[in-house]
């Protein structure tokens, strides 16, 4: 072994990389990561199955059929009238199926026919064309009353003789109001996705230093590299793990969306365009994660046991929820003081800016906001590592400063 005569130290970046590389591989190749990946997929699969079933039910319910039990001529005239109207208002009319062509004077029990085995009619139309009788459940017959009278009038020859031509003047895009509403929906969807991802993933950071503290490795790290580097390394490792998870979930989610594309309502294109919006979405996820993660890491570093971390999870989630709700509220008031406050407050800034990307095409505010958010990540990591050094790395063996609970440690850190 050669003598190491060179002094020196790793730069904060290199040191953070050493920590991040260890954490990333340790998490990625652990069995628990597989379960972590699968966890959110279960609700997706359940939702998919429920969606399919719902769609089938809806399809059945969405095609109402009215049975027709009239004298043959009337029944045929009603079917012909329905056909004639089909081109104009077909989508609003029920289908008619002849149940029975009645002989003159023949009676028909519509109630019995509806309740009979195999009957699949929403209602039954009987009686003469001039005074049709609609038999069925009250809410349905009230609904079909109007359409049936229109078709019956057409069958009697009382319908319009001619229709004026309608010239269609197609607007390429929606009206401004529609566009604004659509983009607001896109912004909301983006924010919700961002919130769900940060809520799912940032919480992991809370317990990130418990392993080091439990295994007494923290002192080896603290003696060799700056605590800032430890914090940065841990944050970026978890970010990388999160991105892997998002890639997996995104692929599965994408496949699900493609499979069920027919039933999905298209999302309006964001103001900055899809490529820029997706890129900004990635950046803002990283920023939201790092901002909230740096606080969680600092708070979690004060905890000494897994139980303490679990206790902290709820207030941490509530904090995230509050940030999300604030940003959502701010989104509905573009260019207001509320929106600027949401952008200026570091934790809500990524959410507010993602919403802005959907609603406003200017790119430069994003560059400024990202710079602002990076500054806060640096400040928060520095503050967190300093807090950790001064409050946690102090007790030696028995007999030095007395051991205290989490809140006492936090309180004394503030004072």
């Amino acid at each position: 072994m050669t003598a190491n005569t060179a002094s020196g130290r790793l730069s904060t970046l290199s040191a953070a990389f050493v920590v991040a590389r260890r954490d990333f591989t340790a998490i990625l190749f652990s069995r628990s990561f597989i379960f972590f990946l699968l966890g959110p997929l279960f609700p997706v699969i359940v939702a998919m199955m429920a969606g399919n079933i719902g769609q089938k039910v809806q399809e059945n319910a969405a095609a109402p059929v009215l049975g027709v039990a009239m004298q043959a001529a009337d029944a045929d005239a009603l079917i012909a009238a329905r056909k004639a109207l089909d081109r104009r208002i077909g989508a609003t009319l029920p289908e008619f199926v002849v149940v029975k062509r009645l002989a003159p004077g023949e009676a028909f029990d519509a109630k019995a026919a509806l309740s009979g085995k195999g009957a699949n009619f929403a209602a039954i139309v009987s009686g003469p064309l001039a005074a049709p009788v609609l038999t069925g459940p009250s809410e349905r017959i009230a609904w079909w009353r109007g359409p049936v009278s229109v078709v019956a009038a057409q069958a009697l020859g009382n319908g319009p003789k001619s229709y004026p031509p309608i010239w269609l003047a197609d607007t390429a895009a929606n009206t401004t109001a529609d566009q604004h509403e659509d983009r607001t929906r896109t912004a909301q969807a983006g924010q919700t996705l961002l919130f769900l991802l940060t809520m799912l993933l940032a919480g992991m950071v809370l317990s990130n230093l418990v392993e080091e503290k439990g295994n007494k490795i923290i002192e080896i790290l603290a003696a060799a590299i700056p605590m800032d580097a430890v914090f940065f390394g841990k944050l970026f490792a978890m970010l990388a793990v999160s991105l892997v998870a998002i890639c997996v979930w995104g692929t599965v989610g994408g496949a699900v969306v493609l499979a069920g594309a027919k039933s999905l309502e298209p999302v309006a294109a964001p103001a900055v365009g899809w490529p820029a919006f997706l890129a900004l979405g990635g950046v803002y996820f990283a920023m939201a994660y790092l901002l909230i993660g740096s606080v969680f890491l600092a708070i979690g570093s004060m905890a000494t046991t897994v139980r303490e971390v679990q206790t902290l999870s709820l207030p941490a989630t509530m904090l995230q929820l509050f940030v999300f709700l604030f940003a959502t509220y701010a989104m509905t008031r573009p260019d207001s003081a509320i929106e600027f406050a949401a952008i200026a407050i570091p934790f809500s800034s990524p959410f507010a800016m993602l919403a802005r990307a959907a609603q406003d095409s200017a790119i430069w505010p994003h560059l400024a906001a990202i710079g602002w958010q990076i500054l806060w990540v640096l400040l928060l990591v520095r503050a967190g590592s300093r807090l950790f050094r001064t409050r946690v790395m102090k007790s030696g063996s028995a007999g030095s400063a007395p051991k205290r609970g989490f809140f006492a440690r936090l309180k004394s850190a503030r004072t």
């Binding site: 003598a3 130290r9 340790a26 700056p226 063996s397």
Partner: protein, 337 residues
């Protein structure tokens, strides 16, 4: 030295401690600390500690639990900053600036349980600037060299506590540091491995590496150290060569005579105590020769005479006080006393 840390240039003046004063005389020092103070929530853990550790020495920091040993070492390593005072490690005012040249074994051992032994060594090396591939190579070589070849591919969680501790000691040394700091390195090791560690520490010192270790077992310090710092209640009442510490106490004389009385008794020092057949007293400043002459001429009939130089334990009692010595004895494992 950072501006906030420096009090004034006079702070590096002689301290009264033997080794500290040698530093001023120009002897190269691996570590210098002056008047280090650290308080936690109003509790003063370290209260004005002075240390000067010569390069290439084996230096012991001796004191009972809670004396301030770990806090002092943490300040020297840059894990925590002192509230007052100055520190200089391998010439650097900020300990992290020489992290590549320092190895550290904390008192509370720990490695990542899922890591393989050689990877754990390589990881600690990587933290100290050793490329990962080189660290892995050295890790395997070190494990083979120290009879732990069979553990190379085993995860830390699969090793016994003692073996894991040996792996961690090797991890401390993988980057070939110039300064190694061990905090209570012998705790948790069996007698055999304690001996191995002592030999390893001597080997390091022979190569020119400075070795600092804290212990509450006087025997280890006495066997290994060139110099010691005795620490009690956050203060260092003595720091210097072991011989100087022992010389703080005059040698004890134990005499057995055939005659119980005679004119020769007048030659015995004033602090003489009769214990059974023996006379016990402190060796007089004039030496043993005048007394011997008086005993022979007075026909006392010398049956036995021994002069015992004080041990480090006695020196510790004299320097740190009876209470600190008692605490030290109670903490030391049976086999180490």
């Amino acid at each position: 030295m950072t501006q906030t840390m420096r009090m004034d240039l006079g702070d590096w003046a002689p301290t009264g401690n033997e080794s500290a004063d040698k530093a001023v005389a120009g002897r190269p020092l691996a570590i210098e600390a002056r008047r280090l103070v650290k308080r936690f929530d109003g509790f003063t853990a370290v209260d004005g500690v002075d240390l000067s550790v010569p390069e290439g020495a084996i230096y012991g920091i001796l004191g009972p639990n809670g004396a301030g040993k770990t806090t002092t070492l943490r300040m020297l390593l840059g894990i925590i900053d002192p509230d007052e005072g100055l520190r200089r490690v391998l010439g650097a005012d900020r300990p992290h600036d020489v992290a590549h040249a320092v190895g550290y074994l904390p008192e509370e051992r720990g490695l990542y349980p899922a890591m393989k032994a050689y990877e754990a060594i390589a990881f600690v090396g990587a933290l100290r600037g050793l490329p990962l591939a080189e660290g892995r190579k050295r890790g395997k070589a070190l494990l083979e060299e120290h009879g732990l070849g069979y553990a190379i591919d085993r995860q830390i969680r699969q090793l016994s506590k003692g073996m894991a501790q040996q792996v961690q000691i090797l991890a401390t040394l993988v980057h070939d540091p110039r300064l190694v700091i061990f905090d209570e390195p012998f705790s948790g090791l069996d007698a055999l491995n304690q001996g191995k560690l002592e030999r390893m520490m001597r080997g390091l010192a022979e190569k020119g590496t400075t070795v600092i270790f804290s212990t509450h077992v006087i025997a280890h310090a006495e066997r290994l150290c060139d110099e010691v710092a005795i620490i009690a209640g956050g203060k260092v009442p003595f720091a210097g060569p072991v011989d100087v510490a022992r010389d703080r106490i005059r040698p004890q004389v134990r005499l057995e005579t055939r005659a119980a009385d005679g004119p020769w008794r007048a030659a015995l020092p004033a602090d003489v105590r009769r214990e059974g057949r023996f006379w016990n007293f402190t060796l007089p400043d004039t030496g043993i020769e005048p007394l011997l002459r008086a005993l022979i001429e007075g026909e006392a009939g010398i049956l036995a005479l021994s002069i015992e130089r004080a041990g480090l334990h006695d020196a510790f009692v004299a320097i740190a006080g009876e209470a600190a010595a008692k605490a030290l004895e109670e903490e030391a494992p049976e086999e180490a006393r």
